[in-house]
Amino acid sequence: MDLLNASITFLNFVFVPGLAYGAQLALGALGVTLIYGILRFSNFAHGDTMAFGTMVTIYATWGLQAAGITLGVLPTALLGLPVGIIATALLVLLTDVLIYKFYRKKKAVPTILVMVSLGVMFVMNGIVRLFIGVEEQDFSDGARFLISAGDFKKWTGLSEGLAIKSTQAITVIVAVIVVAWLFWFLQKTRTGKSMRAFSDNEDLALLSGINPDRVVQVTWIIAAALATIAGVLYGLDKSFKPFVYFQLLLPIFAAAIVGGLGNPLGAIAGGFVIAFSEVMVTYAWKKVLTYALPESMAPDSLVQLLTTDYKFAVSFTILILVLLVMPTGLFKGKSV
């Protein structure tokens, strides 16, 4: 039995990756949940919005790299990020003016809006493929590890290493900053409060003189920023591939629903619930258990509940359970 090495293995293979992935999902789910709360529909184009923002950021990063500008140990993409955010914000504002606004004025039912968001998804997907193609793109540079497994072993003398990729650390730090800012914005600023008021009771918000167009615009801008940040962090941590971003829609929606659609706090909790479940269910526990259990009980098999190919099944199962047991989510979201 070697609990120390067991917990290091756990941290290395489950906790740290889960934390980073959870932060990425949480940022994605926040965007979905904000759109849902204010505009009252599930935005199926969110995954492709993430892909678009990431693509622009990648181009900006390549441009910066070509010009010889880098951030040293940090990924250059962080410098390109504002460009991606601005471009994405402009794009979604344009789609709002050209497309969504019409249905909003008409008070169209949510399903129609979802259908419209499918059309937007097609267009965004097409744009992304047209520009950058369908292939995988790697755009991370800078230091690869904050702590590498080898260094860790050398410092501690343990047989197991704990590697923290710099992208993981950056993901968590950026996510904390973004979430803190978002909550400050929603809780403390006049505009943020007006957004919450609009989400809570649209008619009364209008009666109070809150300008709906402004609320909607600010929401789109924030959602675009969140989508771009989430997409770039995911791309840095793993890699950028347009189709994968489309597929992220499922865990992101699952996260938003688990937390309670329309509830920002819930979206964050949901992101981590989904991420950790996914990592824990698809992780082969053999190594951890071999350390943690007495030798006689050490497992022979991989002790893996599901292969990683089925990670979507995890989001899906959790989604189904939530729909069955508490359709409004962990935190009270909008009604079912």
Partner: protein, 432 residues
């Protein structure tokens, strides 16, 4: 009515022109895919047009139909089956029994910690038992000659039998999803179906014992009465025909086969249209539309809205599954990697919306038109892009643009969908 006839005639002209200026072979291939898409569009139209249900998992139900073909009509692998076929069945039954027991427990027992504990124990024990039975069996099956087999094989029955089984598979999956996601917010069904489709594809890709995964299953039998091209070319009667028409026997045989498929699919399509027109004009159809137009009022009149929705959802998915089985039969192979939600889910949606949701003929027209557009761009796109970019100098940008032609169609279809939703939401042939 004459307007609708003109629309259909216009689409028919597209196929004729394709035949004349491209090739009849291409024209018929597109027609066959379009006919299959039309059947799928009918299934979706029943869900969306009749009941307002938003199904984003069409791909999954299509693939389940394909799975049925594999299991029913691919050639048997007795050694593979003997290695662990029954154990796999037992394992799957154990899995199903576990879920059933958990559902029973949570229904029968009183709310509280005890119930949660009981359900958790059932699930954990059941899962362990399921894995304990399934894993070694799967390993044994997959170990048998993995280069050619490694699967449990099929029943070796005719393809035509596989089609209704495909509908059944899709219906069973639809029942499970619908049971959970219907009766909640309308978006939840969309998200749940999106998820189930993704999982079905993953299962097909990864469960080698079932579908040989990415190693694909090929040489599935032709459905009756479609013969193999090779057999035709060796048949004296056929060679006689070819001589009389003065045609190349090889070319004629492919066209003959495709024509037979087209007639077979058209027959099924007409049957589905006939059934669904009858249903639409029956009291059942009127009730469905009443529910769609005002759920609250219908519920107040004592209609069980969720139950009706479940019914219509299952029927629609079954039709999609049927068409999915037909498609796999036509392609003679099961290639899980080709299932793509943009092609098999969202394209169908574009067909339904463009054609006219709520109108069966509209869906068919939309499917034929959009199906033609989608596939013709696939074959013509690079050429057209080459023409457009011919003024440009050779270089990476030009190469990139020519390569990206297939992606243009996503963009185009998205724009078409948005334009139709905005300016002609009732579609080409609106609901009466």
């Amino acid at each position: 009515m004459s307007r609708n006839l003109a629309l259909f005639a216009g689409v028919a002209l597209l196929f004729v022109l394709t035949g004349m200026f491209q090739s009849w072979n291409l024209s018929l291939s597109i027609l066959n895919m379009a006919l299959l898409s039309a059947i799928m569009a009918m299934g979706v139209n029943i869900q969306w047009g009749y009941a307002g249900l938003f199904n984003t998992g069409i791909m999954g139900f299509t693939a389940l139909g394909g799975l049925a073909v594999v299991l029913v009509s691919s050639r048997p692998v007795p050694e593979g089956w003997a290695a662990g076929g029954w154990s796999i069945v037992l394992g799957l039954l154990l899995g199903a029994a576990t879920i059933a027991a958990a559902v029973m427990a949570s229904k029968r027992m009183k709310k509280g910690a005890l119930r949660n504990l009981a359900v958790a124990i059932i699930l954990v024990v059941g899962f362990l038992a399921y894995r304990a039975v399934l894993d070694p069996a799967v390993e044994a099956v997959e170990a048998f000659n993995p280069a050619t087999f490694g699967n449990i094989g099929g029943l070796g029955l005719p393809s035509l039998i596989a089609w209704p089984v495909g509908a059944l598979f899709a219906a069973a999956a639809a029942w499970a999803v619908g049971k959970v996601a219907l009766g909640l917010r309308s978006d939840y069904l969309a998200i749940a179906t999106l998820g189930i489709a993704e999982i079905v594809i993953q299962v097909l890709k990864n469960e080698d014992w079932l579908t040989r995964g990415v190693k694909n299953i090929t040489q599935l039998p032709r459905p009756w009465p479609v013969p193999l091209e090779v057999d035709l070319q060796n048949s004296a009667t056929f060679l006689g025909w070819a001589e009389r028409f003065g045609a190349d026997p090889v070319g004629l045989s492919t066209i003959f086969v495709k024509l037979l498929y087209a007639m077979l699919f058209a027959l099924v399509l007409l049957f589905v249209i006939w059934m669904s027109e009858r249903a639409l004009h029956s009291p059942w159809g009127r009730m469905m539309r009443a529910i769609r137009d005002n759920e609250v009022a219908a519920a107040a009149m004592g209609k069980n809205v969720t139950k009706r929705h479940l019914q219509v959802f299952i029927i629609g998915c079954a039709i999609v599954g049927f068409a999915g089985a037909m498609m796999t039969s036509m392609e003679n192979q099961m290639v899980p990697g080709t299932y793509n939600p943009l092609r098999y889910t969202f394209l169908i949606w574009v067909m339904v919306v463009v054609g006219g949701s709520g109108n069966n003929w509209g869906s068919v027209l939309g499917a034929l038109l959009i199906g033609w557009l989608w596939l013709i761009v696939e074959s013509l796109g690079p050429a057209v892009m080459g023409q457009i970019t011919s003024v440009m100098s050779e270089g990476p940008l030009k190469a990139h643009l020519i390569d990206s032609a297939p992606h243009m169609r996503l963009l185009t279809l998205g724009v078409i969908l948005l334009l139709v939703l905005r300016f002609n939401p009732r579609g080409l042939i609106p609901e009466k």
